[in-house]
């Protein structure tokens, strides 16, 4: 299975290039969409095949096996979980885009950028050294800047420019952090940097400075409060499949995943980093939901909920780091925190992309994004409404949908880790989320049709995408235990073993 790992990056990047070439050949332009779908579905198949296998360390570049001079690709439990999440959402979004993007010109440009972003995100989660992670972060980010402004309307350009400037500042901070770590340890490989830091001392001022730069830059990418200002503009301005990708996986792959990897595997969990993560997480959770509840633009409301829900994940990761940094770490509690956080990350990818895709259906068919102008859509658009309702119930944490179980596990694990106040706050935020999605149900789906009386059901391709994600939302809740055993427990172990899974097969 080892030769499959580099394909996860190579196939989307190669096809992104081929799509541009094909688009310039007369008569072949119609094939670009099929080619893009085939590439993403092939990626999804590869990442599903990789589950359950052992940790695979691939060394690309022909420097010899086990030499960290070349590019190391680490496919451990955490990477596998992220690969499944990314490629699942990407596959659904590109199928959906087949029908949704018809109103735009130059769809091949969209397909090419979409594939670049997907391939780069796969690269981020597979990267075994800090600099490659940075390069893939940048490739994904540049593709996403262009995709946010894809419509080239005034508001879209404004949002894209804001996102571009803040994203670039974040990247510069990340690179600065990596530079300082390199100057201290003489290495870029994550495992070797971690070993080098043990010699330098993990609390020396230079290490803390590097950590501060990395945490600030990655929090900007993850849109944690107080670094969140770009997200509510950028995510709603993009076309719906891109909103689903950005909120669904980009802030996770280039924000939360990278934060977790850097804190757990490179810097090593310590009380300081745990406190930073928990403060960021709790602040995002509370402030995100308070900002969301007053929104009347459906997509903007969803974007604010992304901040709030990612707060849950980062809070759980922070609690796990706090437990791990104690003198006698209780691995069961830390494991439960990580399971809750990672489970919620996966679930959020499923229900948030479902909600963004259904908002795209409503926007296209009813012609509005404002909740007050919608109404009576459950009769006009039954499939979209049904799927939208499943997504809303999942994010609001209603049993038996997946969001209920992950929030429950996070709240229980916060109690066990010794943070009852934060657990109470998490319950309160869950109630606020429910309240805000009752508003969505009440205004968009129920009531009398006003301006949207002429709306009809969305095209079949778009409905298929919604149904697949709705099934994932229901199945994620019902199959929580088998999913934990095969997907989330290995991912949590990969984080708890510090840099253990990165060093397998490495000869320094």
């Amino acid at each position: 299975m080892e030769p499959l790992v580099p394909l996860l990056v190579a196939v989307p990047l190669g096809v992104a290039f081929a799509v541009v070439l094909l688009a310039h050949v007369r008569g072949l332009r119609r094939l670009t969409g099929l080619l893009a779908v085939a590439a993403v579905v092939a990626n999804l198949a590869i990442s599903l095949v990789l589950i359950g296998g052992p940790t695979i360390n691939t060394f690309v570049g022909g420097w010899g096996d086990g030499r960290t001079l070349g590019i190391q690709m680490v496919c451990d439990g955490l990477a596998k979980l992220m690969l499944v999440t990314i490629n699942l959402v990407a596959a659904v979004s590109i199928v959906y885009a087949g029908a949704y993007m018809r109103r735009f010109t130059k769809v091949w440009l969209f397909e090419s950028l979409f594939l670049l972003m997907t391939g780069a995100m796969n690269g981020v989660v597979l990267a075994g050294d800090l600099f490659n992670m940075f390069v893939f972060l940048e490739v994904a980010a540049i593709a996403s800047y262009a995709l946010v402004g894809f419509g080239c309307e005034a508001e879209e350009l404004e949002a894209a420019f804001k996102y571009l400037i803040l994203g670039t500042v974040g990247s510069a901070l990340i690179l600065l952090g990596i530079t300082i770590l390199y100057s201290l340890t003489g290495n870029l490989n994550m495992a070797m940097v971690s070993q080098g830091l043990a010699v330098v001392g993990r609390t020396s001022p230079a290490v803390l400075l590097a950590a501060a730069m990395l945490l600030a830059g990655l929090s900007l990418k993850a849109a944690m409060v107080p670094f969140h200002a770009w997200l509510p503009d950028a995510h709603p301005s993009a076309p719906a499949p891109i909103s689903a990708m950005l909120s669904g996986v980009l802030i996770k792959a280039s924000g939360v995943y990278a934060l977790a990897r850097v804190v757990f595997s490179v810097l090593g969990p310590s009380p300081q980093y745990a406190t930073v993560l928990m403060v960021l997480g709790a602040a995002s959770m509370v402030i995100g939901v308070f900002l969301a509840i007053g929104q009347w633009d459906f997509k903007r409301l969803l974007a604010y909920h992304s901040i709030s829900q990612m707060g849950y994940v980062v809070l759980a990761l922070g609690a796990a780091a706090a437990v791990m940094s104690r003198s006698d770490p209780d691995r069961t509690v830390a494991g439960l925190c990580l399971f809750g956080g990672l489970f919620h990350l996966f679930n959020h990818a499923a229900f948030k992309s479902l909600l963004f895709l259904s908002s795209g259906c409503i926007e296209q068919q009813a012609g509005t994004r404002l909740l007050k102008e919608m109404g009576g859509l459950s009769r006009r658009m039954p499939i979209t409404s049904f799927c939208c309702r499943i997504g809303a119930l999942s994010i609001a944490g209603v049993p038996p949908f997946n969001g209920f179980f992950s929030k429950l596990i996070i709240i229980i694990s916060l109690f066990l880790a010794g943070y009852p106040v934060l657990a109470g706050v998490a319950v309160l935020v869950a109630l606020m989320t429910l309240l805000s999605f009752i508003k969505v149900q009440r205004y968009a789906l129920e009531g009398e049709p006003t301006k949207t009386a002429g709306a009809v059901e969305a095209p079949a391709l778009m409905c298929i995408a919604l149904v697949v994600l709705a099934v994932v939302c229901v199945a994620g809740g019902l199959a929580a235990i088998p999913l934990r055993d095969h997907l989330f427990a290995p991912a949590g172990d990969a984080l708890m073993n510090a840099s253990g899974s990165l060093t397998a097969g490495v000869t320094p």
Binding site: C152, E153, A154, E155, E158, F161, L175, T179, S183
Partner: protein, 122 residues
């Protein structure tokens, strides 16, 4: 050497950050981002520099017929130079994107002033 390097890079970095935060003209913000980027690039190159017994390090290029071992003892670290090259190329792509977006924004709003480019709220 050590601490001066950090102070120098941070001074340039803060100058760039100041321009990004305080300036209202889009072009000035772009220039601020470029300064920020170059502060990090400079830091990367400076990190790779070393002097051997008071003598400045050589460029890490192997002359024809020379010993690799001897060069390794007297040359500066080549890896940051490879990294800075990558970082500069990324910076070039970003600059092109930023300028292109600034032009499109000017077409739509008729101004480079960020105070007037404010249709998104909330």
């Amino acid at each position: 050497m050590g601490i001066t390097l950090y102070v120098l890079a941070f001074a340039v970095l803060l100058a760039g950050l100041y321009a990004v935060v305080a300036k209202k003209n889009i072009i000035k913000i772009i220039v601020g981002v470029l300064i920020l980027d170059y502060a990090v690039n400079m830091m990367l190159v400076l990190v790779g520099y070393r002097s051997i017994d008071g003598q400045a390090g050589q460029a890490p290029i192997l002359p024809g017929g020379a010993e690799t071992g001897a060069l390794a003892k007297s040359a500066v670290d080549p890896l940051p130079q490879a990294m800075v090259l990558t970082s500069i190329v990324i910076g070039l792509g970003l600059t092109a994107l930023m300028v292109a977006m600034a032009i499109r924004l000017y077409e739509k709003y008729g101004t480079f002033d960020m105070n007037e480019i404010r249709r998104l709220r909330g």
